[in-house]
Symmetry: C2
Amino acid sequence: LNIAVLPGDGIGPEIVEQAKKALDAVFAKKGHEAVYTEALVGATAIDKTGNPYPDETHELCMKSDAVLFGAIGDPKYDNDPKAKVRPEQGLLAMRKKLGLYANIRPVATFPSLIHKSPLRADLVEGADFVAIRELTGGIYFGRPQGRSEDGLTAYDTSVYSTEEIDRITRLAFDFAMKRRKKLTVVDKANVLATSRLWRETVQAIAPDYPEVEVEYMFVDNAAMQLIQWPKRFDVMVTENMFGDILTDEASVITGSLGLLPSASMGLHTSVFEPIHGSYPQAAGKNIANPLATILSAALMLESAFNLKDEAVIIRKAVDASLNEGKVTEDIDKENPLSTSEVGDWIAE
Amino acid sequence: LNIAVLPGDGIGPEIVEQAKKALDAVFAKKGHEAVYTEALVGATAIDKTGNPYPDETHELCMKSDAVLFGAIGDPKYDNDPKAKVRPEQGLLAMRKKLGLYANIRPVATFPSLIHKSPLRADLVEGADFVAIRELTGGIYFGRPQGRSEDGLTAYDTSVYSTEEIDRITRLAFDFAMKRRKKLTVVDKANVLATSRLWRETVQAIAPDYPEVEVEYMFVDNAAMQLIQWPKRFDVMVTENMFGDILTDEASVITGSLGLLPSASMGLHTSVFEPIHGSYPQAAGKNIANPLATILSAALMLESAFNLKDEAVIIRKAVDASLNEGKVTEDIDKENPLSTSEVGDWIAE
Ligand SMILES: CC(C)[C@H](C(=O)O)[C@@H](O)C(=O)O
Ligand SMILES: CC(C)[C@H](C(=O)O)[C@@H](O)C(=O)O
């Protein structure tokens, strides 16, 4: 198993380290051999090479079976809107160059964390859905983008092709088939031409999945429904910009942001990373919660290597750590373990 | 006082009727004279004229001091994505032709409704902010929009000029000055050229309001903060598409969707309407909650006519109706009043 490891910035290195411990434990148990190769990305990569997604990193990813990613972002770039090179550009370059067209975020509740949800417990208990965001199209990459000559007008372009919509929609239908067979397509077809193409394309594909119930929902309504009735969702699919907003909204409703993994499926490889950010205030302090990264490793075993039993073993260990209170200070203020202690406990 | 009345579709006519009762009562008490003139808009207007925003309606609005608006939307158009004329087009045409550049939504909690919030009570109690959405620019109106010749690609364009950003930003700063002096500017400056122009323009205006603390927030983060910590907001301002999503998200967090009014300030007149929709299932049943429309009338008195005492009188009557349980079935299932009974009680 060829695994590229991109720890990135902030708490990235610490949490990725724990995920590797969990992987090593399960590989040892099941007799798999893994080769991890590390590379630079994000602010760390800018500091050392001037490029947030260096060519060597890209080449490594291209020949890996999967990429384990930490987090990127450094506050020293946030306060400088005119910085020429920014860590996020590395992220966007990586997505585009690896063809990571689908970002997949399973949203689940953990009974021991329900009390951390900002929502009423009765609304989130049992919520269980997958949010799928198109990741390489739309207004993120559409051209033209820029300023008029006099500098007084700015413009961005959102573009989608039938092909781009088709491939992510089929992926979403496949997810729905393995779950409760309900697909919610989120768009703004009453305003946007791209949304109308999405809707038409989905309508053309739907007959191939007669068992799946398809529902179309405007993005403003989806932003409300996620809060009012999250249990109504099974699989949700949407375009890049709407997905950026809705998947982040979705990630906080269950109270388990520190536990949510994600997968970005690509044309060349796939990338697995926690949903949370680089949490710079905690960097180097050995206090960050490694569980989302450990669960991202489980997702990698399952999706990239088809190692389902191995994924289950890791998930069970995470459940046990929650049940037995072997957790970091964000979950247990009174009696916390450190980042590395949680990693050791899970591996053990 | 020249008031154009556009009842629109669904429950529109019923709820607007109650707002007129409240206005009449306060006008009688205070000795004002009002002329109401009704006109068609939405599905009703399509049915009668073929146009969701007929010219006569536009002319009436242009010469009115304020517009009292009900709601638009009819399910018979929702299931027909290829319908040539749709009620929403009337709404967009009205916004553009009247130059309604700023949609203003005060988000407040009502103690007697906190238990209806999907959020934990401690998070929403006392939340009190104003969400300001740019309403005539961005991807809603930017051109080009459409399809490639082969039909396989679709595109939308978001455009903003310094002038458009400037006028809404100043309005937002003015609101902040009258409140807790904190302004949150929501954008996606790490990705969009339009957002970078927003940020630059706001930065250029900020020195004119030295007392206001300005904060910049990415839209994905704002979608999370609205749920996790709504009390952090005082005045929020953002572009059209982000505003569509975030103001709807904001409207459900307090549990008082049926009570939230809005104002759209324009170059030629201003429009006051409830935030909720046309609720077709309830149309004609005399069960819809008229309070958001009544509070929109109060907002009209204050913003369009500078009649502050009169607005206060209406708001007190609404508070009293809530405290004494003189409310519709959405608030009190056991002992509801009808729409018209609530209107009568408030007027009385
Ligand atoms: C950092 C930013 C460019 C990025 C995005 O908008 O895609 C982030 O918000 C995310 O969701 O991964
Ligand atoms: C009906 C639709 C075009 C409209 C919008 O997106 O502006 C609505 O959602 C709103 O917010 O008033």
